[in-house]
Symmetry: C2
Subunit: 284 residues, 2 copies
């Protein structure tokens, strides 16, 4: 196991081959010089569930299938007993339609709500705590050395972020191995693409770690919890409600992981403190 550490463990690495995810743009720098720089593309993608228009997401445009599936799963519009029979992506119309064998519960609920109280534009977001009431995640124990190792590997991975900036990354990890690295304009899209990949590949989530470059807000914690992932790690900060929800569902939540520093906000008893810090590192 230890010997494998140097190996590239990515199943999906950042999308550096496709040339349509960035565009070369001219800007003017502080000296008045014209400079050419790579800039992230951003496209609308309107997601449909069968006949129902759901939302327009702004995305870089890779993996629209994973994004649509993951979004619908994370919003609990697609439940585990819904059978997806097809996904139609239309590049020109910027639409993607996820088709299920039978009409989903969500469509029925939405129709009822529409008939009784007018249209329910915001409800999909308003019901976000649904499915969280009795959720308790598996109590996965992880080593603090994994955190440092993951952070280093992820920071050194060539990415759209390193090329062009203005983008968030979310990485699905097993032990100290990054497996699936998704990037997108919004940090939520990157998480949804991971959710779509997990759903499509039938991958176990209860032994995984999710690393994100974005902040640990309530929505990020809820999405991660609904995906069944027991550990969420970020180089950025966190909100009070994010921390509260993590505690409620038994999620290990780590924020501000930079260099040798981190803050564990929830689940510190599920950390195995195997990384010994040197005297010098105490001041990093």
């Amino acid at each position: 196991m230890e010997q494998e550490k140097k190996t590239n463990t990515y199943i999906i690495a950042p999308n550096l081959v496709r040339s349509d995810l960035t565009r070369s743009i001219n800007g003017t720098d502080q000296f008045g010089n014209i400079i050419e720089l790579p800039v992230i593309e951003e496209r609308p993608l309107t997601i449909f569930l069968n006949e129902q228009e759901i939302v327009t997401a702004m995305t870089i445009g890779d993996y629209p299938e994973y994004l649509a599936l993951g979004f619908l799963k994370n919003q609990r519009m697609l439940l585990s007993d819904d059978k997806v029979k097809g996904i139609d992506f239309d590049l020109e119309l910027n639409t993607i339609v996820v088709r299920t064998e039978n009409k989903t519960n969500f469509e029925d609920k939405l129709k009822k709500k529409t008939q009784t109280s007018g249209c329910a534009v915001g409800t999909v977001f308003g019901d976000m705590m649904e499915g969280m009431e009795d959720l308790i995640l598996d109590p996965l124990v992880i080593k603090t050395s994994y955190l440092y190792s993951l952070s280093k590997k992820i920071n050194q991975t060539p990415s759209l972020y390193l090329n062009a900036g203005a983008i968030h990354g979310t990485i699905l990890c097993y032990r100290d191995n990054p497996l699936v690295y998704m990037e997108d304009v919004g940090r939520h899209n990157a998480v949804d693409k991971i959710a779509g990949w997990i759903f499509e590949t039938g991958t176990n989530s209860n032994d995984k770690i999710l690393y994100t470059t974005g902040r640990l807000t309530s929505e990020m914690v809820i999405k991660t919890a609904l995906m069944g992932i027991p550990v969420l790690v970020s180089r950025s900060g966190f909100t009070a409600w994010g921390v509260e929800i993590a505690k409620q569902v038994g999620m290990t939540l780590i924020g501000r992981l930079r260099g040798k520093r981190f803050i564990c906000l929830s689940g510190e008893d599920r950390l195995e403190w195997d990384a010994s810090l040197t005297e010098n590192e105490k001041f990093l």
Copy 2:
């Protein structure tokens, strides 16, 4: 004018007096020590337009009226001929209702859409380019010295960000004076609160500069354009579509403003290059 430079120009400065915008939380640091730290609060706020539920936003909870008004304005659900007769905020229910004298066009459109095609959940976001077709912003000329001055003043302003992190700031500025400093969990909320303030106070927007800590995505550029603000500045990066829209509406767009560096992505001919950089600063 020059003598006023040292004066505090804020009409609204960051909200450091209210104790309910942050919460003290215990975390465990990398040495296993328990530390206490201030963390940003995050609360749901469900916005209604008359009887119509619109959206649930996650917000720190200050200025719910400005947030609701600004969101509805920036989504063009409230148009300039709609008269707001009241705003009811319910702290316990986390709801805010904006009431207009007459039913809005938006409600009519939504009802029609609901009747013909089922509920239109995503449409509010899908129609985001509406109102942008013929929009050309006033060609405001600004000095490059304003950029440096604003950046310095804003970075030195005591803020929730400096106290607790995990939050975005958006600041409405006139020349090199920051006027209204809004912070929120999402950068869009901070912009919407500025929009609400402009609407409520009837402030001119065509001579202002908007500074944001967040990235310059299409949504940020669209909101700023719909607010009639001709200059948008950020310390962060930008997306290709954000730049494209800025060019389309004649907005001056400045990204990656840090120290003496910046990149002008649109409107470089409306910059007055009065800030001369020293040889040393050329390498900053």
